[in-house]
Amino acid sequence: MNFQLPDLNPLKPELFMTALALILLISDLFIKRKEVLALLSIASILVVAYTMIGSSGTTFGGMFISDGYSSFFKIIFFVNVILSVSISIKYIAIEKVNFGEYYSLILFSTLGMMIMASAADLIVLYLGLELMALSTYILAGFIRYDVKSNEAALKYFLLGAFSSAFLLYGISMIYGITGTTNLRDIARFIGERGIMDNPALLLSVIFFTVAFGFKIAAAPFHMWAPDVYEGAPTSITAFMSVGPKAAGFAVLGRVFMVAFSSVKFEWAAILIPLSILTMGVGNIVALAQTNIKRMLAYSSIAHAGYALLGIIAANNEGLASMMNYLLIYAFMNIGAFTVIIMLRSERFKGESIYDYEGLAKTHPLAAALMLIFMFSLTGIPPTAGFVGKLYVFMSAINAGYTWLVIVAVIFSVISAYFYLRIVMYMYMREPKVEVNLTTTPATGFALIVTTIAVLLIGVFPTVSVEFARAAISKF
């Protein structure tokens, strides 16, 4: 029997990523200055991004696919890694956890996300999801001596394992019904047999919703998010609030749009209350937070709710708007986290929202940038946040969910209160504590990139919208 090697071309980025992450792990043994590892990890990402060119195609018997959709998400992941690593360098030294594994774990986690984005088969999906999740569990607990960090890791792990069980249960039911784990084959089977109202099928859709809802931190599966975001190292919070969330949306979009496209109305009916609840819980509970990381955790929950509108629209336009939203969210959210991380110094935590009082007086530039990110998260033009929201609202209205958009905009007004409260503290209160900013060239780089992206996309949305549309056309 002839063994034929599958076409490895679509897999090129993942292969390079694996190799480079391993090299990084080993080189940690020889390199004493961990900053070098940070630079190496960024260089690795650039190499992997380069290998992505011309890698489109399907391989391993249709289990793995590299298309515009997956490439777009991979670019979000790369942006996420580059920015998160940039803000980590000084920060993990301050937290006294300056170990080389940190960077290779970030790369492994990202590898998992990349596999998720490219998964055309439920088994591959699960593989990627676990790789991402396991690496992130460790990263969440990276500050070993800190109880909160430990708590974050344990909580994330326990609830994550629970949600994986749901996912596996869903997969096994689907396999039981259709006899396949390939997304397109599942769709074909459902379509041919006309089993749209099979209760087991709907039950497995619900299980998938639960599992993915956990990853994107959608209410009521969001319970882990605030504690984990608060306890994890701030740089990892930034990383987690963008990467795994985007990966969760990537699989949600692909599984629901490809495998379950024939039960669109059923899963939309599940996702609609979910998104309302998510926006509601995220925005309303955020009002009561005094820890800025916790506040941004709830804000991140709320943003998942807005992005869900794009999936609920259940068409390519909707998916494009969701992707565009996540890309924009990556920039504005990491931008905000960069300012938060700059407040952290040897003897100062800088996590309470009261630490921001009078920041405009002591550090006008940092305050002005935070102002831009806060207005962007609120969704006020001319910032990117507005473009992101506008696009998902447009696609949801076009799909006939005007009432849902009205709910969403009302929640976004509520969100103005807690985002602008930070602005208020910075500009309208007198400084009470002395705040020293920890600035490095790397954080400066992250701030420049995120600010330019937020303003550029805000004024010329074409930059990202065109990109998302082109990506979805090769879905």
């Binding site: 405009a360 006020i380 506008l390 958009v405 905009v409 007004v413 103005a416 309208m428 074409t462 919208v465």
Partner: protein, 512 residues
Amino acid sequence: MEQVIMNKLNYPILSTIIFLPVLGVLLLMLIDRSKELLIKWVALIVSVLTFALSIPLFTNFDKSTYKMQFVERYDWIPDWNIKYFLGVDGISVLLVLLTTLSAILCILISWHAIKIKVKEFYIAILLTCGAIAGVFSSLDFFLFYLFWEAMLIPMYLIIGVWGGPNRIYATIKFILYTLIGSVLMLVGIIVLYFHAGRTFDILELMAKTYPYNLQFWLFWAFFAAFAVKVPMFPVHTWLPDAHTEAPTAGSVILAAILIKMGAYGFLRFSLPLFPDATKAMVPAMLTLSVIAIIYAGLVCLAQKDLKRLIAYSSVSHMGFITMGIFALNSQGIEGGILQMINHGVVTGALFMCVGVIYERTHSRLIADHGGLATPMPIYAAFFMVFTLAAIGLPGTNGFIGEFLTVLGGFTTSKWAGVLAATGVIIGAGYMLWLYQRVFFMKVHEKVVGLADMDTREIIALTPLIILVLWIGIFPTQFLDFMHPSVEHLLERINVGGTQEMSIAKIFMEVVR
């Protein structure tokens, strides 16, 4: 037939008005924050230059056509069919000019009043004025909404950072009220976008007609945004707080131009886009307007705080404007537009006057002042002119505006006209009583020996005095701007040529 007249000047006038302040902001950012005098002068020069460059809007405006003029149009976001589309017609041109003028006055009046974060203050003022000019000249819904919301960011800071003791409450109330209205309008805009076949172009949207049911819902969605901004009863409650707590320049921006955005929105969007819904809503809108006129007027009588009183008088005056607009006849609408300018001039001036005295006594309470005419005669004279204009004394601009709006209201609904006229009387009551308590009677110990207005303050207020008399004596020079545009608007709503109109026309001749 092309519906617009492209800009024929040798520079893009509207873009200049909007973005020259932004360039000024970039320049200010480069200046060291300790050089406060330089910052002030740069801001002043930028605003004067902007105003100077906006004068062709007045001199080169073609008053014989309703078409959009000075138009600039470029593709901006092709994916969504969004254009960078600017232009003005008879409805908006004067408002743009008022905006560029207000920027100068705001900077002059803040010269000594603003002592902290000086650099940020002038940045915020320039950004606000640029964005508001953008609101008045955008002909693409996306662009319009962009400016409409972007204006909130600097305004939030102006009230919140440089305002009075209760400023934080006021600014949050301001932004939440405004946002909730705006986002509902945003939903409306998107619905309209898809219904009209994916276009944000306001002229294209106006060329279409919409089913009544859609008009009805969209009217209310837009109403939410505009009514909050105007502000109409019962969503006016943010205004007294914002006005009272804002620094003088903030109050001037609010009174002179910001709240005009709401009334402008009704004229530019609600009326021509949803004519059937508008006609059906006339009774409701007139009722709300009349309530605002009388209720806010009565509330004024009970105020102890100078700024709060003028703030409530704003609500009352804006009631005349919305009444004129929703009277849906040419007197009412032209009166409404003129009254928008008048109110901007007069109330802006009154707030500046209050700022002048607040800088000296650091009190806004009416009871803390008294007999001011003795130490500050020039100030008293200025204040008198503006008080009389606010009351609507013939010969001042207030008379023309109030007369036309009441006439318009009367033509459409006798009750509205009659009740609004009682509002004029209440207005005379509270303004004159205010003047009496502040300037006459016993000289209060706090005001003994106060210095009269200095040259800077006189320079800041003189243009407004000129406008009060100019509009008051030669109203046609300003009304002429509006005729073709208002006529076109009314054709669109197609109410015209009723019996009562001809009676009104005779009145109009009397005014001329």
